[in-house]
Amino acid sequence: MANFYTDNPDLRHHLNHPLMRRIVELRERNYTDAEKFDYAPLNFEDAMDNYERTLQVVGEICGDLIAPNAEGVDHQGASCSDGRAHYADGTVDNLKACRQAGLMGMAMPRRFGGLNFPITPYIMAADIVSRADTGFENLWGLQDCAETLYEFGDEDQKQRFIPRVCEGETMSMDLTEPDAGSDLQSVMLKATQKEDGTWVLNGVKRFITNGDSDIHLVLARSEEGTKDGRGLSMFIYDKRNGGVNVRRIENKMGIKGSPTCELVYKDAPAELCGSRRMGLIKYVMALMNGARLGIAAQSVGVSEIAYREALAYAQERRQFGKAIIEFPAIAEILSVMKAKLDASRSLLYECARFVDMYKVLDDISKERPLTAEEKAERKHYNRLADALTPMAKGMGSEYCNQNAYDCIQIHGGSGFMKDYACERIYRDARITSIYEGTTQLQVVAAIRHVTTGTYKALIDTYAAEEVRPELASIKERLATLTDMYVAAIAAVEEQANPQYTDFMARRLVEMAGNLVMSYLLLLDANRNDSFTASLNVYVNMAAAEITRHAEFIRTFDIAQLPYYLNK
């Protein structure tokens, strides 16, 4: 009888952020849907009440069904036979419950059968689902793909496919191939247009999460003779038409309930989504940004469960006549775990709100021309969302791995055995810093926001906010740390050496991340005293990290670069 939403007051704190009022008003177009749909909200309070109640349902299903199923799903895993992938029994039950509860297509407009939720409460559901079963979050979270269909599909495609997703059909994004992983420009899957104008797909995809889904978005080479990203288009493949088989599924370290498929396309009928040649450069980039936010949520869910498992064990396990949590060495680990969890969660929801703001304005722009202010606002939030997405994904996934490691450490020898959930959490966590772009690629996406000043400008807006007097000293400390960040950027830029900038990029992005998360926790603590402990712990850690990176950059002799780069 657990509820993973109501047992975690931090979630309600983030759901009730001041910016939500504006997001919801835009999203609901001033609540005009209420005339057409009996489940549409009447006003802001009603909408928030809907999110709250829906998250309670998510929390209940997660606490009572999905979390108890997680161990069985991990043991049984997905399987493959006769060209199809099969879910574990627990996964089948989980999906059924999510369908019955109507938790698919949450962010889709009502006219397609969706709930028209903003991204923020949807991402909160993902955070909760991931805590219950990280691998299941993938299957459920692939409803994200409907967002891409909604943004780039034509009206007919939207009407045919999106209602099916809202009814509970699953999706997949078929991008990776044996020779095209991080480098998607090398995709070779061949799309051929027949004389009647229809398309067929031929070739192989690999590492496709939920690859036997009902509706696939497929990246394929539509322009014969091309070799780069501009020859790629996006296609929709409907499983009902046949033509794609699962050759095998991967035997993975974690998220075993989520089948990772190798797909063979044999004259598989497909339809073009959007314009030719825009597949990678526009649609997949949008798809990936949504997916990265999803992995950031998944990572926070992992951090949450890792922290909870560690805390429960430390309170229960007795050594030397007392619970081990009473030893400072153990208590400190738990404090740092909680601080990383809270910091990455604050960043996650800040990012989700920014995504909400620019996406909703973008959507409105299809109905009416935006005002000049709205256009500026869209651009502003789009840029912030682009800056925070790789940071939330990159650092959030690294933190959840660290938390999973510490969770095992707190369990001691027992943590190394298969008897406790922590070993599964440790294995499940590992993929988060790899898929949808490794941490290293997140740094590549984020570094331009260091050099162009997006992060600094954001930090300045945080610094301009008033805080309670008791938080003033922390705020001053953050100002000093910001100066160190600015000096480090200047030192790197002074070299005017792209290779050197690449080499230092991770350090600069991490410094920016430490600062952004410190400020977000400061504002959280300003609004809600329960964040004060994590604020203090996180800022101490951030100060040490920023100082370490600043010192490394300050003392680094560029003549040493070959020692690192020439192998």
Partner: protein, 290 residues
């Protein structure tokens, strides 16, 4: 064939997590200390009803509950999970009823409702644990009854096929409709609340709940018939005053005692077949097992 299904549900104190303050000094339940919930086995019954509705499109599920006016919460909860509507049977004279008076009152309500093919309910409620109300209703209405149902396998040719969970195994039986089926806790869990239904019906109220709303809110409910839950009192079910509430309840509680189970004796056996076999024989002889 579409069905008219009645589900009997009861709002009960959550006795599964009982703390020290669960009982008052006089031995009665301290309802204030225990959250009111949907009786768990009634949820199992609702799931069987929802499956019948899935299999027989066009069927309607009406939930009937007797209790305080706030028992309307149970109706809303059932609607969120897929029921079509419900009736709260509430009236001061109905209070203090034992199983006899309860089954009389519910049977009267069912007669009044009239059109039904099957009546489902949980095996028993977790506050009283009597398992009597379902069977008594069947007797009063002159209907066949199937108890301890674990799964309704189907309805065909006017007959329902039910798998029963018995102490030593399973039994599959058929009964002609209309009939009463009481569902065991071992049956499938109830499906979750559907969030669209939750958003649509969250403002559904019974007349006595509506009376407490603002004028504006009342107007909102008046404009939307689907938000209006039915509420019946004694007069609506033509109840005989002598058969309801306290007057209709022959059961009188004299005292309530706390029972603490303690082991009377302990015996130590050696780890060998001989001694274990001897113990088993002894336990069979004195009917502890077997």
């Amino acid at each position: 064939m579409s069905l008219n299904i009645i589900v009997l549900a009861k709002q009960v104190p959550d006795t599964r997590n009982v703390g020290k303050d669960a009982m008052k000094a006089d031995g009665t339940i301290n309802r204030a200390a225990l959250p009111a919930i949907f009786n768990p086995e009634d949820l199992n019954a609702l799931e069987q009803a929802l499956r019948l509705k899935d299999a027989h499109p066009g069927s309607t599920i009406t939930v009937l509950t007797m209790g305080l006016p706030k028992a309307a919460e149970v109706i809303r909860e059932a609607i969120f999970r897929g029921a079509d509507g419900g009736i709260v049977l509430t009236d001061r004279p109905l209070g203090g009823a034992d199983t006899l008076a309860t089954s009389y009152s519910l049977a009267q309500a069912i007669r009044k409702f009239g059109n039904y093919d099957i009546i489902l309910g949980g095996r028993q409620a977790i506050d009283g644990d009597t398992a009597q109300v379902g069977p008594q209703i069947a007797e009063k209405l002159g209907l066949p009854q199937v108890t301890y149902a674990e799964e309704i396998l189907g309805i065909e040719d006017g007959k329902v096929t039910v798998k029963r969970r018995l102490e030593h195994g399973l039994e599959t039986v058929k009964a002609p409709l209309p009939c009463v089926v009481t569902v065991n806790g071992s049956a499938a869990d109830c499906r979750p609340r559907n969030v669209k239904r939750l958003m649509k019906y969250k403002y559904a109220v019974s007349p006595s709940e509506k009376a407490a709303l603002s004028e504006e809110q009342q107007k909102f409910v008046d404009e939307r018939p689907y938000l209006q839950l039915r509420e019946w009192g004694c007069a609506d079910i033509d109840a005989d005053p002598q058969q309801i509430g306290f007057p209709g309840s022959p059961t009188k509680v004299k005292t309530v005692e706390n029972v603490v189970f303690t082991a009377k004796e302990a015996r130590r056996l050696e780890n060998n077949d001989e001694q274990i076999e001897e113990l088993i024989k002894e336990l069979i002889t004195n009917h502890t097992i077997g």
